[in-house]
């Protein structure tokens, strides 16, 4: 499949909402979040319920900011990292909005945005929402170790972001989704779950290259090319490999996982990861840049590491995937 082009009346991002935990709130992007929760439990009894509440609160915030009621939303495309996407299932229970659950690991946010854009562009929905979350504590207990276990993290390991991002997509706005490239599953044999950035980088490289090739774009077309959660290791690989292919992005390339935490002060090793990473950074900071005109064009690429605890225990390598969407301010792209 070639890069999708949303011609004619394009789907637009009308509003976003971003909610995060304490550690993220103390990171590099503090002013851009709608909610910062100091209590990691959010007043709930379990980490899973805490994550559901995070997602739920974030959706509520989005609806309030957009001045919409749940009945007016045609569909939500969303997901998270927990088995059977329970955070989204329980989080959305009270809203009664038609829901399609997604699992694309950390690529889910852009997967949801692409589907929402397709639904809106194809006139199957007037208003659609893309929504994801992740929570450090619920991910640790599912994918790694109990929180109180005294393990040492390796330098390449990443820190699952406690955060949720949501975007309302409909026609008739300033900030348009112009194109999207759907990723392929790519596996270069990395099996270390503490090195997910390296496992996902090849997928990001392939998808970003394909997007530039399909649209025949010059290297400096975007103000920012953004990857979701490759962290410092995956970011360096992506930057260098793209350059080898003649796609030198120079300082126009950033990674949400690399950006979200303060590397000097916060103990996050190679950077942030999780569905909530790209989602909260885009819904907070990047959307602000677009809205205020500080950025005119952004290529948002969310990367997912598609392993499960079962596949890792069985020694399988980690397949990666990356989807990207081109988001542009309307006044500039005629």
């Amino acid at each position: 499949m070639k890069t999708l082009s949303f011609d004619g009346q394009r789907p637009c991002i009308l509003q976003t909402a971003s909610s995060v935990g304490k550690k993220e709130g103390e990171g590099n992007l503090t002013p851009f979040y709608d909610n910062i929760f100091q209590d990691a439990y959010l007043g709930e009894k379990s980490w899973e319920k805490a994550e559901s509440k995070l997602l739920k609160t974030n959706l509520k915030t989005l609806l309030e900011k957009a001045n919409e009621s749940p009945e007016n939303i045609d569909i939500v495309f969303g997901g998270d990292l927990l088995n059977q996407c329970i955070s989204s299932n329980y989080g959305l229970l009270d809203f009664h909005i038609p829901f399609l659950g997604l699992y694309g690991a950390c690529s889910t946010f852009v997967e949801g945005m692409i589907l929402a854009a397709m639904a809106v562009h194809g006139n199957y929905a007037q208003k659609a929402i893309a929504l994801t979350s992740s929570h450090f504590c619920s991910s640790e207990r599912q994918f790694r170790f109990p929180l109180e276990y005294g393990g040492q993290r390796t330098p390449t390991s990443q820190w699952t972001v406690t955060g949720s991002g949501a975007a309302l997509i409909a026609k008739g706005g300033e900030i348009e989704i112009t194109h999207a490239t759907i990723g392929r599953i790519i596996d270069y044999g990395i099996s270390d779950i503490n090195n997910m950035g390296a496992a996902m980088a090849p997928a990001a490289i392939e998808t970003i290259r394909r997007h530039f090739q399909d649209r025949n774009l010059p290297n400096d077309y975007f103000d920012l090319v953004v990857t979701g959660d490759l962290g410092s290791v995956g970011k360096q690989i992506t930057q260098q490999q793209l350059k080898n292919y003649g796609l030198d992005l120079e300082d126009r390339y950033i990674d949400c996982g690399d950006k979200i935490f303060d590397k000097e002060k916060q103990d996050a090793h190679a950077g942030g990861s999780g569905c909530g990473c790209c989602a909260s950074v885009f819904s907070g900071w990047l959307y602000y840049l677009l809205r205020t005109g500080k950025c005119r064009r952004i290529l948002l690429t969310a990367t997912g590491a598609l392993m499960s605890p079962t596949s890792s225990f069985q020694g399988e390598s980690i397949p990666g995937i990356a989807h990207c969407i081109s988001i542009e301010r309307k006044t500039d792209n005629q």
């Binding site: 207990r141 109990p146 276990y149 005294g150 040492q152 270069y188 044999g189 990395i190 390296a198 290791v233």
Partner: protein
């Protein structure tokens, strides 16, 4: 990318920040050694209290396990372990932490299927293979005794 998996792994590793081996080993040495000194102190204490040598060893083991469980329950053990690495992993306190941590973590799944079933999810292999090895050793002693 035109790269096979073996080449890619080496290429990716070239971007990985190196782990600080000497620093880590020094921390492990000092903290692990420190825990053993504490053990030696406890041995002296129990022996002064008049316990037999074997009893002292068992009481020492139980005391260190208690201390580790206490630090784990107060969310301190993982913070020490972050710096100590193998220094808090290798002593018996690391074994205790590996049992107490999942017990606390899986409490929401219930006392039976959460705490009860998950309690040895990390440290279980130590007991399993420790016992298997001891049975093999026992067989050697037994056969050795028959000769």
């Amino acid at each position: 990318m035109r790269m096979n998996p073996a080449d890619y792994k080496a290429y990716a590793d070239s971007f990985s920040p190196p782990s600080k081996l000497w620093r880590n080993m020094l921390f492990a040495f000092v903290i692990g050694g420190g825990i053993c000194v504490l053990g030696e102190l406890l041995l002296t204490l129990f022996s002064t209290l008049g316990f037999e040598k074997d009893e002292c060893a068992t009481l020492n083991c139980i005391s260190l396990i208690f201390l580790s469980a206490l630090l784990t329950a107060f969310h301190l053990y993982d913070n020490i372990a972050k710096h100590a690495g193998a220094g808090t992993l290798v002593p018996i306190t690391g074994f205790a932490n590996a049992v107490v941590a999942p017990a606390i973590e899986f409490r929401p799944e219930g006392m039976v299927l959460g705490v009860g079933a998950k309690i040895f999810s990390i440290a279980g292999p130590v007991i399993t293979y420790g016992i298997i090895a001891s049975i093999l050793a026992g067989l050697c002693y037994y056969l050795g005794g028959l000769l």
